[in-house]
């Protein structure tokens, strides 16, 4: 057990810190995605290697070799300093790595530089109303018409569709082929004629996502990534990697601390909430699990750094992390009692109403990105080597 990152990395950490000390004041704080402040900050980060760190210089990146601990240190220090770590989003986190793997040289030079600089924003068109857990059942069609594909259909859960310049989108180009083989991966501007974006209000009362409708949307045939019919493989070049950080243990730890703070602050019947023995027990029980998940995350990081295999360990974070977070938020509502019901514009709501919002939002995350039931299938099959569901009789 060696919890230190070692002298090389501690030196690197110092570098990051001194960058933050020097430039932190220039970081955006809530400015819009298109603001000059955000774009300038992104350029500065790339220049110093704190964004687009491992993207080759040829495509506008910093060109460093991948190093998990360096990335982690950057993330840790920016978070500790509460300084924006630069732009994220599905263009940067999903499309760029995909293009690097399977894009043409022209696609790389055209799309990667403006994307990493934040000048070209993307949304992802994967899920459909009839294709959720069974993503490969998607039905949005793309039919060849001369030099174009003509796209018709509907996508859902498209989180930044209302902001994006472009979309990367899975469509069915070979309707006769087996389910996973008839799909292609297209890129096209959101300004193309025939695209309608409708905000999708969810249970929190906010439109965190959108629906996107395509009616005879023309996409030049060259705007395909990979071969026709290989879109499923293209999408999976990186889907297999991290699923973002659904149920991120460090965020959960921060929420736990906020909960502890709340329970020290609020009183009921003249007693601080934290002094209620029942609440103490449940809080400590949550703490055990939050701590275990945070340490589990360190174990996963260590495995990556040391190339250690722990196939099971990687598979449980989403399931456990989202369920734990949902439960933690729900407990906060319980300790608040009737006051925990306050919502919307209610001035009495605690911590900005975030307990109720997150309680619901994390139920959404239990469902999204592979429901808990799908996660359990995966854990049992890939983690424990149990057999897949047998094929059904026709």
């Amino acid at each position: 057990m060696d919890l230190s990152y070692g002298p090389h990395y501690e030196a690197f950490r110092e570098e990051v810190r001194s960058f933050l000390a020097r430039h932190g004041k220039d970081a955006p704080r809530g400015e819009g995605l298109r603001s000059e402040k955000v774009l300038a900050w992104q350029r500065l980060l790339i220049e110093h290697g704190y964004a687009a760190r491992t993207i080759p210089k040829a495509y506008g990146g910093f060109g460093a070799a991948p190093d998990i601990l360096e990335s982690r240190i950057i993330a840790e220090e920016f978070a500790a300093a509460r300084v924006s770590p630069g732009l994220g989003g599905q263009g940067i986190s999903m499309l760029v790595p995909t293009l690097l793997e399977v894009g043409t040289e022209a696609q790389k030079t055209t799309f990667i530089p403006p994307t990493i600089r934040g000048e070209m924003l993307w949304c992802q068109g994967y899920s459909e109303p009839g294709a959720g857990s069974d993503l490969a059942a998607l039905r949005t069609s793309a039919v060849v018409d001369g030099d174009d594909f003509v796209v018709n259909g509907q996508k859902i859960w498209t989180s930044t569709a209302h902001l994006a310049d472009w979309i990367f989108c899975l469509v069915r180009t070979e309707p006769e082929a087996p389910k996973h083989q008839g799909i292609s991966f297209l890129l096209f501007p959101m300004s193309t004629l025939g695209i309608e974006v409708r905000p999708l209000v969810d249970m929190t009362g906010v439109a965190n996502f959108n629906e996107v409708f395509f009616t005879d949307v023309h996409v030049p045939r060259g705007q395909i990534v990979g071969q026709r019919g290989e879109g499923w493989k293209v999408a999976n070049t990186i889907l297999g990697h991290e699923r973002g950080s659904l149920g991120d243990p460090n965020a959960t730890m921060a929420r736990f601390n906020a909960l502890l703070e709340l329970m020290r602050r609020e009183t009921v019947d003249g007693q601080r909430l934290i002094d209620n023995p029942l609440f103490r027990d449940r809080l400590a029980a949550l703490q055990s699990r939050v701590l275990a998940m945070r340490l589990h995350d360190m174990r996963l990081l260590s495995n990556k750094v040391n190339d250690a295999r722990a196939p099971l360990a990687n598979l449980i974070t989403k399931l456990q992390g989202t369920e734990l977070r949902h439960e933690l938020e729900g407990f906060a509502i319980d300790v608040l009692g009737e006051l925990g019901l306050a919502y919307g514009d209610n001035p009495d709501k605690q911590d900005g109403g975030s307990w109720q919002t997150s309680y619901m939002y994390f139920l959404g995350l239990i469902i999204g990105g592979g429901t808990s039931q799908i996660q359990k299938n995966i854990i049992s099959e890939r983690g424990l080597g149990m057999p897949r569901e047998p094929k059904l009789a026709k």
């Binding site: 109303p129 009839g130 959720g132 059942a137 009495d348 619901m360």
Partner: protein
């Protein structure tokens, strides 16, 4: 021997449910959530007699009991119906009866006004869910002062107000010194308000601590029945959705995981029916068990409701999380019922005390 509903109760239940399905579909709930009022719907329900359900027959009501009210509450919960049922139709006549005022002419007149929906009575019990430092009402002579953070019904004509000493007061919304402002909660199928009372004139209903305890118990039963109905609706919706929704070329209802989620919801909800019925029955007929059974019903439905709300949403997958199917109205109503008038943890502490443990 019959442990269950009478034929009359079954008929009343069916009638109300038919009316709600017809006149109060989800669209009507959405409209209420978006700001329209529930007056017309409540008037219609009053035509069925819901306003006077517990009002004595000689005051023009149906003279029924808490079990009948629980049957209605379950139906209202099933349809997430906005209605001033708990305060106006249940607690108000119950308070008068408990305070021995049902035959007093002034109060009889007010009971009469309840029948057609023209009088709405809200509930402002600051101690209901545990007294916060910011939340208290004190009485001095014929006036009350203080704040009730969460009072039921933002457009009531009058409120039943509990003061810190356990006395029960009648406060007219129009009285000088009575101010109210919206208290928005997650549950948009019912509107609440914060009541601020400043030397506000009030009429004493009772100083008997037992009266307030009894009213809280009845409220527990009604909220439990409401959650039972809402939970059952969520289960029914989950089963129906699972039968329609296909993934991997088959209805998701054929997946054992989905079937078991539905079975678990059913298995948790089913015994709650008997408990809610019995707790309601006790309010009128088994004095000794009235408080404890009401507490058990409220606490258990708080937990079972929460489990069902989460599980049914999961069965609906992403659709359950959107506003498109509106499932969240039930989710939030159950969430409200869990916390209002004391959440399970709090009620269980009271149950232990009540039983002299």
């Amino acid at each position: 021997m019959r442990f269950g509903l009478s034929e009359d109760q079954t008929l009343l239940d069916a009638t109300v449910r038919r009316l709600l399905a017809d006149q109060a579909p989800l669209n009507a709930v959405r409209a209420y959530a978006d700001g329209s009022d529930d007056h017309a719907l409540w008037a219609t329900l009053c035509e069925l007699g819901l306003g006077g359900l517990l009002v004595p027959e000689d005051a023009g009501g149906l003279g029924l009991g808490v079990l009948d009210a629980a049957v209605i509450a379950e139906a209202l919960g099933y349809h997430v119906t906005p209605a001033p049922f708990l305060g106006t139709a249940v607690l108000f006549p119950r308070a008068l009866a408990a305070a021995g005022l049902s035959e007093d002419p002034t109060w009889q007149a007010r009971l009469g006004a309840v029948l057609d929906g023209s009088l709405r009575v809200g509930v402002a019990f600051p101690q209901a869910g545990g007294q916060r430092s910011r939340d208290s009402v004190t009485a001095s002579g014929e006036s009350v002062s203080g704040t009730v953070t969460l009072a039921l019904d933002d457009v009531a004509n009058a409120y039943l107000v509990a003061s810190g000493d356990g006395a029960l007061w009648w406060v007219e919304a129009s009285a000088s010194g009575c101010a109210r402002e919206a208290f928005e909660t997650v549950d948009r199928s019912r509107r609440c308000c914060r009541l601020t009372l400043t030397d506000c004139s009030a009429t004493l209903l009772s100083r008997d601590l037992g009266v307030l305890a009894e009213l809280r118990a009845v409220a527990w039963v009604i909220l439990a029945a409401d959650s039972l109905g809402a939970g059952r609706a969520m289960l029914d919706k989950a089963v129906a959705y699972a039968g329609e929704r296909e993934q991997f070329n088959r209805p998701i209802a054929t997946f054992q995981a989905v079937k078991h989620m539905c079975a678990e919801m059913a298995a948790e909800l089913e015994p709650c029916t008997a408990l809610v019925w019995y707790a309601a029955h006790c309010q009128d007929h088994i004095r000794d068990e009235a408080l404890t059974t009401a507490g058990h019903a409220k606490a258990l439905l708080g937990d079972v409701g929460q489990f069902v709300a989460k599980t049914a949403t999961e069965v609906h997958g992403g659709m359950g999380f959107t506003d498109l199917v509106g499932l969240h109205y039930w989710f939030k109503r159950i969430g409200f019922n869990r916390q209002a008038f004391g959440n399970p943890q709090r009620i269980r502490a009271e149950l232990a005390d009540l039983q002299g443990w």
